[in-house]
């Protein structure tokens, strides 16, 4: 079972739109972010299943992550 990680805007550069991680015990967004070589300070918004996420919440089957750098508009 994989966890889908969706990347957006500049975070896609050199990484692609989607990356999959194998789900294992203790897998958290923080671990994934490190594996992707993304600096935590470059992340403005982290969503787990479309809701505000926690960097240290262990991920579960069916979860997907959406990671954004600072974005805005109107």
């Amino acid at each position: 079972m994989n966890v889908e990680v969706r990347l957006f805007a500049t975070l896609r550069e050199g990484r692609g739109k989607k990356v999959y991680f194998q789900l294992k015990a203790g897998l958290t967004p923080r671990i994934i972010i490190k594996e992707l070589n993304i600096q935590e300070e470059d992340i403005a918004i982290l969503l787990i299943n479309g809701r505000d996420g926690d960097f240290d919440r262990p991920l579960m089957e069916g979860d997907y992550l959406s990671i954004f750098p600072p974005v805005g508009g109107g």
């Binding site: 957006f8 500049t10 403005a44 479309g50 809701r51 600072p70 974005v71 805005g72 508009g73 109107g74």
Partner: protein
């Protein structure tokens, strides 16, 4: 004279005369400029019950004290009038280069009165005013009109014009400048059309004088640094434009789809800012003195031009069930050429699609492409017909509320005070929904952009489903926004700057003594006079509401599934914070405190 030019140009189109008056500097200090001063002047001169499309309505074009100054993004102007779409006060704002050029031509404000007997345009060159025949450009699209007038009025002249939509009094008509920048909302283009005024051309060489050049240099550098170092204004917006929002709004499950019947679009990636940059972007565009450069210039097939913005991509994309970004760009192009507000126009097409699919609009009524969700040819064809009021396009030109009302189901219009709601489903963003409902000019996202804290985490992240504190945030954002709109700056600066920064900028330019608190207070003053105008014009406080769908139909799927908007829980606290009665009417006590009562007594 610092910041302001101190001059009001008053043009009477009926007898083709004009006069120059001194700007009331006392009122300018109190209501700043742009939206605030424009509303105050309008209220002093025009009966709130005026028919918006009658000669008695006036059209005010108002710059801010920082318009034309070296301040970052200092190029904006505001059109203030009574809206033919909502019946409320309308103040529609635009960037580009026209606003700064009006200051260089010597004026802070233009007041347009009465109606010309034949099409005319106004030329203002270094203080010299002419009212000229416009029969040769009447009926022409925006880019052609601009090209003709730039040639006629000379190098460096800047053109503000209406397209066919404004001439034909569409309630969705925008005023365009620099070809693709729009004072888009509330049908202000129709007011210009109703006066037989096709365009205003400006050109000038005078500068905006600055009180404290050294001080400005310092606060200018500080502001610029903040804007450049901010992730949104320094990176996100310059790289992808406003369309960068498509994905994040969709990932939160609040991207309204098929006229707000859903709030998640599984094809959003195809219309995202990232896809736009990859497939269609030709270049970035910046307004006067703008370090952000969020503007896009795109090309598809034989069509090229400014935009599209996030709002346009959503209105013609997800809201119409369309995922062909190329055709959305074409629809945007035709909105610009016709002079249509892309939000209201796109949402009106989406409303027509729901009416058609539910059997209210019958095949025999529409002489063209079926109005089905997902029909990416329909969005182009019906935009052109809407602009020209051709066939069924005549009904579309009235806007979504009046269209749905014609079929007995006004509740299918996703609008507030008859103005179409923009691209964020308030059921999943409670504070932003409160802002929509209470917006003085009807459904609007730029009167208090609570997407910032509730979705983007700026200046801090709020839980978008919670109600606690949202009334306070809504009021603060609304008040600050009113002040920024009045200064002549772009709202996007507020991603990086705070009230204290704005106070420092206006103080350096004008020699005023503003503080962060007085900036908020000026904003609150402006918000209150707008409300007073609406009440006097007959817009009841009960119009502070959301469409029934958003209050009663839970979001059916996606990350915000199951939510409705809880407006009735939020409104009482909001009214209390505003110091208004439980019914939503400003109290004498609050008007006194804000110094509004004394102005009303003098008027």
């Amino acid at each position: 004279m610092f910041g302001y030019k101190g001059k009001v140009l008053r043009v009477n189109l009926k007898d083709r005369t004009y006069k120059v008056e001194d700007l009331n500097l006392h009122m300018a200090k109190k209501y700043i400029g742009g939206r605030g001063l424009g509303t105050k002047m309008f209220m002093d001169e025009v009966d709130p019950k005026v028919d918006a499309l009658s000669p008695e309505n006036k059209l005010l074009v108002v710059t801010g004290p920082l318009t034309g100054s070296p301040t970052p993004t200092g190029g904006r102007y505001m059109v203030v009038t009574k809206s033919p779409l909502t019946g409320t006060i309308a103040s529609s704002n635009s960037g580009g280069f026209w606003g700064a050029q009006l200051k260089f031509a010597g004026y802070d404000v233009i007041v347009v009165e009465e109606k010309a007997d034949k099409p005319v345009y106004i030329s203002i060159v270094d203080g010299v005013v002419e009212i000229r025949d416009a029969s040769h450009i009447w009926g022409k699209v925006v880019s052609e009109t601009t090209d003709v007038l730039e040639k006629e009025c000379g190098e460096k002249s800047k053109v503000m014009t209406i397209g066919p939509a404004g001439e034909k009094l569409s309630r969705l008509a925008a005023i365009m400048n620099d070809k693709d920048r729009a004072a888009g909302r509330s049908g202000v283009g129709a007011v210009m059309g109703s006066k037989n005024l096709k365009a205003i051309v400006v050109k000038g060489s005078s500068k905006v004088e600055v009180k404290d050049p050294d001080g400005l240099k310092k606060v200018f550098s500080e502001s610029l640094k903040k804007i450049r170092e901010n992730g949104v204004t320094g990176q996100g917006l310059p790289t992808y434009g406003t369309a960068v929002l498509v994905n994040i709004i969709n990932e939160n499950g609040v991207l309204p789809t098929n006229n707000f019947q859903k709030s998640y679009d599984d094809k959003a990636e195809a219309i995202s800012g990232e896809t736009l940059a990859e497939k269609y972007l030709v270049k970035k565009e910046a307004c006067y003195r703008c370090p952000i450069a969020c503007g896009r210039y795109c090309k598809v097939d034989d069509i090229e031009g400014g935009g599209p913005e996030y709002e346009t991509i959503w209105a013609y994309g997800s809201d119409c069930g369309v995922s062909n970004l190329g055709n959305i760009i074409k629809a945007n192009y035709w909105c610009n050429e016709m002079g249509l507000d892309t939000i209201s126009a796109g949402v009106t097409v989406a409303t027509a699609m729901e009416l058609y699919e539910k059997g209210y609009i019958r095949d025999e009524e529409i002489d063209g492409t079926p109005l089905k969700f997902g029909n990416d040819e329909a969005v182009i064809e019906w935009t052109k017909k809407m602009g020209l009021r051709e066939g069924f396009g005549d009904k579309l030109a009235e806007g979504s509320y009046r269209l749905a009302e014609m079929y007995g189901v006004p509740e299918l219009s996703m609008s507030v005070k008859k103005q179409e709601i923009p691209a964020y489903d308030p059921r999943g963003i409670q504070g932003h929904g409160l802002q929509y409902a209470t917006s003085n000019r009807g459904g609007c996202h730029v009167r208090g952009y609570l997407i910032s804290p509730e979705i983007l985490g700026l200046p801090e992240k709020l839980d978008r489903f919670k109600l606690d504190g949202k009334a306070t945030w809504a009021k603060a954002f609304q008040d600050l926004t009113a002040a920024i709109d009045s200064l002549g700056l772009c709202l996007f600066t507020s991603f990086a700057l705070g009230a204290g920064d704005y106070a420092s900028l206006i103080n350096a330019v004008c020699g005023t003594d503003h503080t962060a608190d007085s900036i908020f207070e000026a904003g609150e003053r402006i918000w209150n006079i707008e409300k007073l105008f609406n009440l006097e014009s007959g817009v009841a406080p009960s119009e502070d509401k959301l469409p029934k769908r958003l209050l009663e139909e839970p979001i059916p799927e996606g990350p915000s599934k199951g939510w409705v908007h809880k407006l009735s829980d939020l409104l009482p606290e909001y009214y209390e914070l505003r110091g208004w009665s439980k019914e939503g009417i400003p109290t004498d006590e609050r008007l006194e405190k804000l110094g509004i009562s004394e102005d009303m007594a003098k008027a």
